[in-house]
Symmetry: C2
Subunit: 623 residues, 2 copies
């Protein structure tokens, strides 16, 4: 698949954008006119720079308000166009994007527009240039790609064709299947953007909220499939106006953008199967993640976490034979505590491990998606875990199940191979904790869309729900990524910008599953665990909302348990105090409850805020 | 005017919110239920705290989905309500907000809703409570305040009335004049919010984008006037859901909120004139600002700025007799250079002075608006300037014109009294600079709405336009505040959040007016001024956009001048290099051009970004 990106997607100067696009592996770029106008480099320098970087200059854009005008105005269009065509020759670009008229159109007549496009095409042809006519979703008269194509067909000139843009078509709810009826040689260009489902005016939606493919709600695989079926073989180009991506690091955003096209190419290739074009390749298939292999918590001193794990019945499985790392297990939960290279660090989630059927395939897949690799020092005889760095900096590792990756998940009950590297452990004991229910990671606000694509594309973990939670310091955005079978659940939380100052400033947490939370809470408290105190007002409200048994309510109150109920089941959970950037949660799911008690999160956030006023540093277990 | 504020408007814990509301001078608060539920304090403690702080607890809110349901569901409503009424008695609150049904309504029948409200009213009355029924803009069946009132009238119970909310009424475009037909004793509560003109779904608009009065596009003075004419004398309460205000410092936001109500009270009082209620007071009128009195630039070393001022023909008017401060003047432009308490500071705009007809009245006005006062050390025989601190930290001073404040502006041509405090100055010389055209201040993103209200309410400087400008680091929001006669123009610019990290991270600038910019640019360059280099591509684009004379275009190119043209006139300007947080601009307005060349700002921002790569520190004038 030939890839391209509009320079408006990226931050920085034009020269920085070209370098970043080339480094990320794009084949070409669209030059967005204001980027050139503001650039100190001459058109010849830009052309030479692109040539050296191996980037095609695919398109010059946009030329606005070129048709549907009276003759006087059209003569001015031709004058402007002549100057721009001369400029394009200096750049060596031979396709220009012409948008349907927004500002100056006075004539709503296909014949007039077609005739003017034909005359513009004649002028373009003299310069060796072709014009790609595009229906803007907010065009004054022409706002549908089918009408734009009709007019281009009427213009009947070899230098006049269309540009298709997924945003302009899908934002209006237009059926993209008619694309297949357009002759391939008349589709001069293709622009792709995803977008979240928003109910707002389409211009603001387009200018501020577009996303890279895989991050929004458009079915771009289906869209692109229509274009491929039409026979289009030109560049597949990203044109994403997004307030955040305009600010983020240009190199990282280019890699992120390129990843979205690789993900989309895979989806189209798999959908078309044997009908796929030669240059559409599926990604290596690794079988999907099967469950959490481990959670790694890192700190200069992990003993506070060890104390907690001990009182909830984890077994200390010993120390790694070459590193200052220990392993604790309970049921299927494996927690790795890492004190290496951790000077000054408070406890935080440093890595997640996933069990997968085919780790090698996932490693190749991650490489094709341009993922930064995670490095771990490995000695002779140790299992080398492969991994990647998620956009928030968390390391993600994967390994094949011990038994060679059966697909039914049963293999997870066996120990992974790497567990044998830990020595001097105790005999495994029973624990009320049965596994890891979910891991919540806090995200810098500018990384959440990239994280969504990262987990979906690399690890086949799609976003399944999205919500907002009020905290005393502002609204927290929360998105849940989850495997299809629910064995992996990762809520991603975004702190309000003032709180975070660009960093991920909410605590993370690990939630452990259990079958009897009341017994677990009683035991843990009796052994000194500091639970997060829940306000009494919460229980009064719970009593008003749900018709709960008095004794049950008294138990919740006594143990600082919070509660949720849906038609599918119930959810009981409690939180520990926060140490460093981390707290733990213990949860019991009853029935088929599939959520996270999001309604309780504001109470938790308020209680955590109230706790910040306390004297001295918190600890999870009383000394 | 009795004032109140919903706790949801503010950040922090419930206790912090109450302290902040009281400190800002509110008479009462609405308790937003989730704030209480998340609070460790008992209802009795909250009641006692409010009593100690002198705050009334005006309203408990919200109670949802209470009518339009079948009998089974209504029995559950009564059960919930009974628990909440008991809670309200503990709090000592006697009015509860009941919203029209969104989630559970199944019966679209005024009689059913009225009958259920009557039964709810009977239960409420037993607890000494009244219910204020409100039509949400997105209510399932009831979404219009006129229908809500019809149903309350049908309910015909002393404990059943309505709550009016400006957002729910004005967002739908409903005519508020029918409010005057509602009996005053049936309006149980009044909530006010402003909002920007946005085209999006009304629920998202309401939940994220409400503003305090005076910051959006609603005509709240007219709205409140209808309510006053209806005879309502209860609290005027702010209910503003805003993603930013939920994050900002709670004390500052409460003061900001209170200011918005004082501004609105003034507008209503002035509109009603002799018909105003006794407790609606106009603000002291100061006659409106007449022009810039001075701009103060502060730095440890201001000599770089002095060199620039000298070569563009400013006269050094000497040193202040008691402070390390100098005055430079040219035409009506006065620049104060301040090296006091400036160790380590780069040049930046520290203060603006305005000439006003009645400085004492403005001082009283600022005090009534809860403005933080600016302090300047003043010695015997010196003019004590009164001033305020704007939300971005810039100090704003004002003084009456020397001749005793004639209203025609002519007085500005005379020197202000404070100028006599400068000694050892040179004889005033002619200068090509005629005055200060505008001053551009960069704003932290979280302060822009507060700044808008500050300038509008304290200084009668309304926002006249708003735009967005692309920069290599993201979109810059720009709002212009401007006096009615154009003598004061202040574009406020907001940097993209990543760049700013919460601070105002764009350079500020002072733009000086002149009558012959070509001559000024030539002279200044010949004397060593470093102009910001404008890319050649810009001039190629200019030639394509405007049909300019070749010689004129060559002059623009030669002198790094940028250009804009509208039907009203032309605008020529150039920028100096940036030193510290500051650059200067020189502008010539031709005809009746009234803008700021916003189309040139992306080029300027790109050129400034390109310049950052240069070696060493920039200076405005070559040594």
């Amino acid at each position: 698949m030939k890839t391209s990106i509009a320079t408006v997607c990226l931050s920085g100067t034009l020269s920085e954008k070209l370098h970043a696009a080339a480094a990320a592996g794009f084949d070409g770029v669209e030059i967005f006119e204001p980027d050139l106008v503001g650039s100190p480099e001459s058109p010849e320098e830009i052309r030479a720079l692109a040539a050296r970087l191996g980037l095609r200059l695919d398109l010059y854009q946009p030329m606005r308000d070129v048709e549907g005008v009276d003759e006087d105005a059209f003569l001015d269009v031709l004058r402007r166009a002549e100057a721009k065509f001369a400029l394009m020759r200096r750049l060596g670009i031979d396709v220009v994007l012409c948008c349907s008229n927004v500002a100056t159109a006075t004539i709503d007549d296909d014949d007039v527009s077609a005739s003017q496009l034909r005359r513009l095409g004649e002028l373009a042809q003299d310069h060796g240039i072709r014009i790609a006519f595009e229906a803007l979703a907010w065009g004054r008269y022409i706002d549908d790609y089918r009408r734009a194509w009709r007019i281009a067909e009427l213009a009947d000139h070899p230098a006049v064709g269309v540009c298709l843009d997924s945003f302009h078509i899908l934002s209006r709810g237009h059926d993209p299947s008619a694309i297949e009826a357009i002759p391939a040689e008349k589709i001069f260009f293709l622009q792709l953007a995803d977008a979240p489902a928003l109910s707002m005016d389409v211009l603001s939606w387009s200018r501020h909220h577009r996303l890279f493919p895989g991050e929004g709600s458009f079915d771009l695989a289906r869209f692109l499939t229509h274009v491929v079926r039409a026979g289009y073989t030109g560049p597949v180009s990203l044109e994403v106006f997004n307030d955040t991506f305009r600010q983020t690091d240009v190199r990282q955003t280019a890699v992120h953008a390129r990843r979205s096209l690789r993900w989309l190419e895979d989806a189209v290739a798999r959908g078309l199967a044997d009908d796929r074009p030669q240059d559409y390749e599926p990604l290596p298939a690794f079988g999907g993640p099967r469950g959490f292999d481990f959670v790694e918590i890192k700190a200069e001193d992990t003993s506070g976490i060890e104390a907690l794990l001990e009182i909830v019945g984890f077994t200390p499985r010993g120390k790694h034979r070459t590193k200052p790392v220990t392993l604790w297990t309970a049921g299927e939960a494996r927690v790795v505590l890492n004190e290496q290279h951790a000077r000054g660090l408070d406890p935080h989630i440093a890595a997640l491990g996933f069990a997968v059927p085919d780790a090698d395939a996932l490693t190749r897949r991650a490489a094709e998606l341009g993922t930064p690799f995670a490095y771990r020092r490995t000695y002779e005889g140790e299992l080398a875990l492969e991994g990647a760095v998620a956009p928030d900096g968390t390391e993600i590792f994967w390994s094949s199940s011990a038994d060679g990756a059966t697909a039914d998940g049963a293999a997870l009950r066996d120990e992974p191979l790497w567990a044998a590297e830990f020595e001097h452990g105790a005999a495994v004991q029973e624990s009320p904790v049965s596994g890891i229910d979910h891991v919540s990671l806090s995200q810098p606000w500018q990384a959440i869309d990239e994280a969504t694509l990262f987990f979906a594309s690399v690890l086949e973990l799609p976003t399944t729900s999205s919500t907002e939670v009020a905290s005393p310091r502002g609204l927290v955005q929360s998105r849940v990524i989850q495997s299809r079978d629910g064995s992996i659940r990762i809520p991603l939380n975004v702190a309000p910008p003032i709180l975070s100052g660009g960093r991920a400033a909410l605590p993370q947490h690990v939630a452990f599953a259990c079958d009897d939370i009341v017994a677990l809470a009683r035991t843990a408290r009796s052994r000194g665990m500091a639970a997060l105190p829940i306000p009494q007002n919460y229980y009064d409200d719970l009593a008003a909302r749900f018709d709960l048994d008095d004794g049950f309510l008294a138990t919740l109150r006594e143990l600082d348990l919070v509660y949720d109920r849906e038609s599918e089941g119930e959810y009981l959970h409690f939180y520990t105090a926060t140490v460093g950037d981390l707290f733990c949660e213990f949860v019991e799911r009853r029935g088929r409850y599939d959520g996270y008690g999001a309604g309780n999160a504001p109470v938790r956030l308020s209680a955590q805020r109230a706790g910040e006023g306390g004297a001295g540093r918190a600890d999870i277990v009383r000394a």
